[in-house]
């Protein structure tokens, strides 16, 4: 291509203000940098860990492990319909209270000495409690901040979050609440472990530059095409720590016979459930630090990358659906949609691990980012601001 594509330069002043210098490679593999990210970001930011459809009635609970903090989080819906989150830790001697990842139960009994808690967190009873030197009302489960937006459950390990979830999400709130995910009652899920830094993993999903090389067969050509071979987005958006892109839509995507057939089977069900037509069909929301969501009605997935260590992460990918499968065609369309996304994501996982192996060698001091990789640059800039501020506060004795 001799001429720049109309989308090849990010247009906003905020994007241009991020500069064009290469970014340092160390933060993508070094333990000390990750330790600072853990404290300055992950232990004090809203993190998506589930959806209200997992707690459809009072008594349901889920448990999620946050490895980066060695934390296990118990999320409950009690009789008052309020969703609460607690550290999954008995307040007697610290035993992990619930060993299963989900279920329906209104009380939780510690396997060690039988302390029993309500799903509202209060200590309900404990054998021989009168011999302790503490009051029951002071022994409730330790609460974790939890809020919901568009059905998505977020927790924040900061005991006093500096802002509520809605303020944190800003303009995304109104948009997400118009999406099918806000009404979802079920989902298809696949998860992965990856020997890669969380940013390196997440970054793969913030650019379309790789699509034509990595997903030449599986990707369907929906976001790249003859007139936009590198898949430049139509626009980028920057919203504080978050960012968006409007994905270019190939007017003549190359689809296999079964892709056409399967999406044709899914679309009537989406229409019937008013889940096909919304203004965000090609929207992509990258929510700081580790969540992103795509509005595509036939593949409406939400993906988060949870760090484990500097060079290990876990990903959760869910396609959220409205209503159970109403008929065989919808069931087929949903499973095919997930299968196709999984093929694509398995190709991503493989190449991300290869990139991590290269970075781990220390051979590169810097990473070069092109104009389409401006979202990666924005994430790094936002992360590094928080890391440097935390380091400064540490040095000054403020934390």
């Amino acid at each position: 291509m001799n001429e720049l594509h109309q989308y090849q330069k990010p247009e906003s002043a905020e994007a241009l203000a991020l500069g064009t210098d290469p970014v340092p490679a160390g933060p993508y593999y070094q333990d000390d940098y990750f330790a600072l990210e853990r404290e300055s970001i992950f232990k004090r930011t809203w993190l998506n860990i589930g959806h209200v459809c997992e707690l459809p009635e009072p008594g349901y609970f889920i448990v999620r492990e946050l490895d980066f903090a060695n934390a296990s989080i118990l999320v409950t819906r009690a009789r008052d319909d309020v969703i609460r989150a607690f550290h999954n830790v008995c307040t007697h001697r610290g035993t992990q209270l619930v060993a299963t990842d989900s279920g329906k139960r209104s009380t939780f009994t510690c396997p060690y000495h039988g302390w029993t808690f309500n799903n509202t967190g209060e200590l309900r009873g404990a054998p021989d409690f009168e011999r302790f030197y503490v009051e029951k009302q002071d022994c409730g489960l330790h609460e974790v901040s939890v809020e919901v937006c568009a059905g998505l459950i977020f927790v924040n390990l900061d005991p006093s979050p500096t802002q509520g979830l809605r303020d944190f999400l800003g303009p995304f709130v109104d948009q997400w609440e118009q999406l099918p995910v806000a009404r979802a009652t079920t989902y298809s899920e696949y998860v992965y472990e990856i020997n890669a830094n969380w940013k390196l993993t997440y970054d793969n999903f913030q650019e379309n530059y790789h699509l034509r090389f990595i997903h030449a067969r599986s990707g369907g050509g929906g976001a790249v095409g003859e007139e936009n071979p590198f898949g430049y987005p139509i626009r980028y958006g920057f919203h504080g720590d978050h960012r968006t892109q409007e994905i270019w839509s190939n007017p003549s995507p190359v689809l296999s016979d079964t892709q056409k057939f399967a999406f044709g089977k899914l679309i009537p069900a989406l229409m019937q459930k008013d889940a096909l037509q919304h203004p965000f069909g090609r929207s992509y929301w990258a929510t700081f630090p580790n969540l992103f969501m795509i509005g595509t009605p036939t593949q409406p997935f939400v993906h988060y990358v949870m760090p484990v260590s500097a060079r290990k992460s876990r990903g959760v990918i869910r396609l959220y659906w409205v209503g159970e499968d109403t008929n065989a065609s919808e069931r087929f369309g949903r499973e095919f949609s997930m299968t196709m996304a999984r093929d694509v994501h398995s190709e991503d996982r493989r190449v991300i691990e290869a990139a991590q192996r290269g970075l781990n060698s220390g051979a590169l001091e810097h990473i070069h980012l092109q104009s389409q990789e401006v979202l990666l640059r924005h994430l790094f800039t936002r992360v590094d601001e928080k890391v440097q501020a935390y380091k400064k506060a540490l040095a000054g004795g403020a934390v």
Binding site: Y192, R217, N327
Partner: protein, 114 residues
């Protein structure tokens, strides 16, 4: 069970594929694709491709919760066909290589599993 009762009438030609491909969860269907060889995928694909639209038309006439054993088996074959079609139509000669990487993406739950 007699061989002829494995699948509803009209879909008998798919019966030889039922034992291997009619797995009962999405994760198992994905696994069937992973461990199959090229000729078994192609044979299933060739036998099923024209029948899948008819199978869905047939299955769509009744609620999923009321599917009998043979209909349930047909449903599972249709779902497995989606996995196989990814291999045959899209991954092609790269399928064997691709199969090394897919299992890292572990399917935990889908609406069809519940």
């Amino acid at each position: 069970m007699r061989q002829s009762s494995l699948l509803p009438g009209g879909f008998e030609t798919l019966e030889p594929f039922a034992e291997f491909w009619a797995a009962d969860t999405a994760a198992k269907r994905a696994h069937c694709r992973d461990i199959s060889n090229e000729s078994s995928r192609q044979d299933f694909y060739d036998a099923a491709v024209r029948l899948i639209p008819l199978a869905l038309e047939y299955l769509d006439t009744r609620p999923l919760a009321e599917l009998g054993d043979s209909e349930q088996r047909l449903m599972r074959l249709v779902l497995s066909f989606g996995h196989v079609a990814m291999a045959v139509e899209l991954q092609g000669s790269e399928e064997a290589e691709h199969a090394q990487w897919r299992p890292f993406m572990q399917i935990t739950t889908t609406p069809a599993d519940r």
